[in-house]
Subunit: 296 residues, 2 copies
């Protein structure tokens, strides 16, 4: 079963890389293969300085090892031996009107036999375009609805809660879906949950490239660029201070460059920047909160 | 006694701001006064876009409140009511040959009557200049030696251990001195430790401006600038992932803009950047490790 999941996840990585290269039209992914010190390894693919994509990574990894005790306790699992595989994506674009996006699908197994899937896709626009936001959430809802009519609501709330920056009292972006510890049981068989996770992965490219293509040619100036660089600062704050995946990678001594590929190439922190009232920037900030209904 | 410490610390803030403005010759500090939700407040002073200093903060604060239980446990203190006051400085310069510097002096008191001082100064050059590094460490040693001949070695090792980025296996810079939980006892009376902490604060301006003035006119190009932006990335990684002061500020809901003034204005993350062998960048990396003897 591990190999089936690995093969499926690798296929998803390949499909997404092809679609993003085609969308960009200029840059190609470069690949780094690496091995993890405790077992397994990964395929890191990075796209840089493209027509649209400034820096992005589409990474596959499968890692085996011993969980640091603090993480085992946190997960509430017995035994420390684990196997994890997943695809992780973060894409930052040059144009401030093209949102940053993140996707992750993952499978986790510990020696006691417990195993689960997790995943999700969330969007981080520098300027929230409400039409795009509705499109994005409706597409994700459609993926969920094909499997369980309760999942979109559930996973949308989880994304709101997860992609939140407490010290800023802001969500990282407009959310999306996020799920973790999704185990076979009432909600579906192992096969069904695996199938759902696969579909989340496969929905990434068509949904994101549609949003990219709507915005990639919008003109912008220095003002919008500066705002983008500051918003990227928030992205860095979230990833380094709160993101569990990043923490897990750093604590299990993963391949640092593959973990931190999520950080944008250029970032700014301006002291105490406050957008003007009623500006597009202020309007965006108003929408970076939990509980916004994008599908109603 | 609290008021005496507060007055002394405010005086140190004033002296440092004057010295840095004089050194820069162009930019002036701007001041924000703020109150903390649970008691006390601060004086944040920011210098930006100067002749030398690109972004820096010299902050005073005195805060009272209830410790989050997890921090109280971590500190091993009884009672959760605390009083803390300190001066915190981070200065980032435009010229990649002018090191970033950090200083902090602080006094901490909990309701059970326990109290201690902490502090230190550490230097983060983008290019390690060995002569500057020796000057810097010898000046700090001189401050320590006037109080206790064992302190420089002790506090230098603590700085090496503290300003370390495990996931990069690099020190943040060339260290300096760092001490915490320095309580009245064998090592000195309350008055002596307070006096030492004051002298650390007062040594900041002459030591740093000497280093600034040696390097501020060195020419540099795009290559050195890019390296600086990437090294700043490491600074951000340290501060957001490991720095206890930053964590304490975020967890006690301090004034975010004053805490995160430590982050540079422009930062870069380049995927998997490796300096050329024997380059100045590679030589610097070789010196970013624990245990380098700069005073021998």
């Amino acid at each position: 079963m591990r190999q089936t999941i690995i093969d499926q996840f690798k296929g998803i990585q390949n499909g997404i890389c092809r679609a993003l290269e085609e969308c960009d039209g200029q840059a190609k992914f470069e690949e780094d293969l690496w091995r993890h010190h405790s077992g397994g390894g990964g395929i890191t693919r990075i796209i840089q300085n493209g027509e649209v994509f400034e820096k992005g990574g589409v990474n596959f990894s499968h890692v085996e090892g011993d969980l640091p005790p603090v993480i085992a306790t946190h997960l509430g699992v017995q035994g420390v031996r684990y196997f994890a595989t997943g695809v992780s994506i973060v894409i930052h674009s040059s144009n401030p009107f093209v949102p940053t996006i993140h996707m992750n699908i993952r499978y986790f197994e510990v020696e006691s036999g417990q195993s689960w899937f997790g995943g999700g896709i969330d969007l981080t626009p520098m300027y929230v375009n409400e039409e795009d936001a509705r499109f994005f959430h409706r597409e994700l809802k459609a993926v969920c609805d094909r499997h369980n009519p309760a999942w979109y609501d559930d996973f949308k709330h989880q994304a709101d809660d997860y992609f939140f920056i407490p010290h800023r009292n802001e969500t990282r972006g407009i959310g999306g879906i996020f799920y973790d510890h999704l185990k076979p049981g009432e909600k579906g068989t192992f096969e069904e949950i695996f199938q759902f996770t696969t579909e989340v992965g496969k929905s990434f490219a068509p949904v994101y490239t549609a949003i990219v293509n709507r915005n990639r040619h919008l003109p912008y100036g220095e003002h919008e660029k500066n705002w983008q660089l500051m918003r990227r600062g928030r992205y860095v704050e979230f990833n380094l201070v709160y993101d569990r995946g990043t923490k897990f990678g750093l604590e299990t001594s993963g391949r640092i460059e593959s973990i931190l590929m999520s950080l944008p190439s250029m970032v700014a922190w301006n002291y105490n920047y406050c957008p003007k009232e009623n500006s597009p920037e202020a309007k965006t900030l108003e929408l970076l909160r939990k509980g916004v209904d994008w599908v109603g």
